[in-house]
Symmetry: C3
Subunit: 179 residues, 3 copies
């Protein structure tokens, strides 16, 4: 088991992408970014689902509990519009919310666009999995992922997940020295 | 209907101002700030109410649902004192909370006073209305309103409200280009 | 009563420290920091308890309601691990949460370590007491306490507690001028 690759869920939440009206750009952008960041072998479990809270909740639960993903990253559905419901679904399935992720992602995005304050992205813990909401736009995904990822491997250590290593020329995973 | 002016609620929450002990300075300060910012014709619906949660909730509901305000701005009642209850009333009537507004208003106010961390200001969506809590002090109202207003017109677009335009020499409303 | 010293609770939340496996370093670090900051006579009420939510809640209630502490500061139990439950216990006993404290402590810690976003520290009001979660590491305690303490005396004024003064060469307590 120890040598099996880490499993990471990538969930695109979009009515248009899930119905085929619109090509999913967010999911592939996350996958590409993670391929550059991670040195540890890993396996992507990707899916594209509509902005329906029960569907999002079931998908997150399945990826965390059944598929054993140590990390699940979503894209889409974090704005103020009526159909934007990803943070509500995430909060509903999480044991703990980590407010610092949303704060940091908004702070980084605010340097680019003042509408970053409209983003309701959150992150939280479900069992041994970390779930992070990313924005829908591919251009913002990289900024947000790079803003929080240095803390992700240590977070996954703390909740009993696999030891993730990064390519240091891309991004350094920070682990505090033991007291 | 399209040419009717946008309606904006301005709610002063203050026991002293509503009982006449104290002149309402916050409401007029908001009105004056919005007059400078907005280029679109608009109409103010102002009221002064006590720090009573049921009264605040009913006032917000009426302005959003019956009066059709696309934006409702409050002043007062956001501190840690026992009678400060505006954020609780706001949260109770909103469908979604936009944490980025409170974060950004506190970040801006922190540059002026360290007690900005005592402010519990929030913003949220109720139906087709955006509700924003501003501080009680006229001197802080301008800082906070200017800090978040660049994102307000696009937020109102996303929830189905009127298209608001600003005087660019005062403040630029940001709308992302469509993907 | 007016001349009796202010009472401040210092709560170390740690399974290891409470069972004696590990020396409590956080509690003494807080006490030492407060001794340097406060000019007003004060008395520390210290305790070391395990990471059990009911125990934390009872301890906080006792320090606020029975012991009459105007300020209760905790250390430990604010991370993402399963046993980290201090913020949940704090939120459960508070009337109001002051989000600005957590935001500011994370912003300051982020300048030192990127894993600061994993901290779930909050602060809130219970009756006439302010409760603040600090991190577990003594090195971070000072940074966080100094980041928020300038707003603490005015907060305690607003909730009806004693008038606290600080040593200005260490830290200036900010009180806004009355309108």
């Amino acid at each position: 088991m120890e040598s099996s690759p880490a499993r990471i869920g990538i969930v695109t939440v979009s009515d248009r992408a899930s119905s085929g009206v619109y090509q999913d750009l967010g999911g592939p952008a996350i996958r590409k970014a993670l391929e550059k960041i991670l040195a540890t072998p890993w396996q992507a479990l990707s899916c594209v689902i509509p902005d329906e809270q029960p569907v999002i909740e079931e998908t997150l639960k399945d990826l965390c509990d059944t598929q054993g993903c140590c990390l699940v990253v979503t894209t889409g559905g974090t704005g103020p519009a009526p159909r934007d419901i990803t943070p509500e679904a995430t909060e509903a399935v999480c044991d703990k919310i980590l407010d610092g992720f949303g704060e940091q992602m908004r702070a980084v995005s605010l340097k680019v666009v003042p509408t970053a304050i409209l983003s309701r992205q959150i992150a939280g813990i479900r069992g041994k999995s970390l779930i992070i909401n990313l924005p829908g736009k591919p251009s913002s995904i990289n900024d947000c992922l790079h803003a929080v990822f240095p803390a992700v491997p240590y977070c996954i250590d703390l909740i009993g997940g696999p030891y993730l290593e990064t390519h240091p020329e891309v991004l350094t995973a920070f682990r505090p020295k033991k007291q």
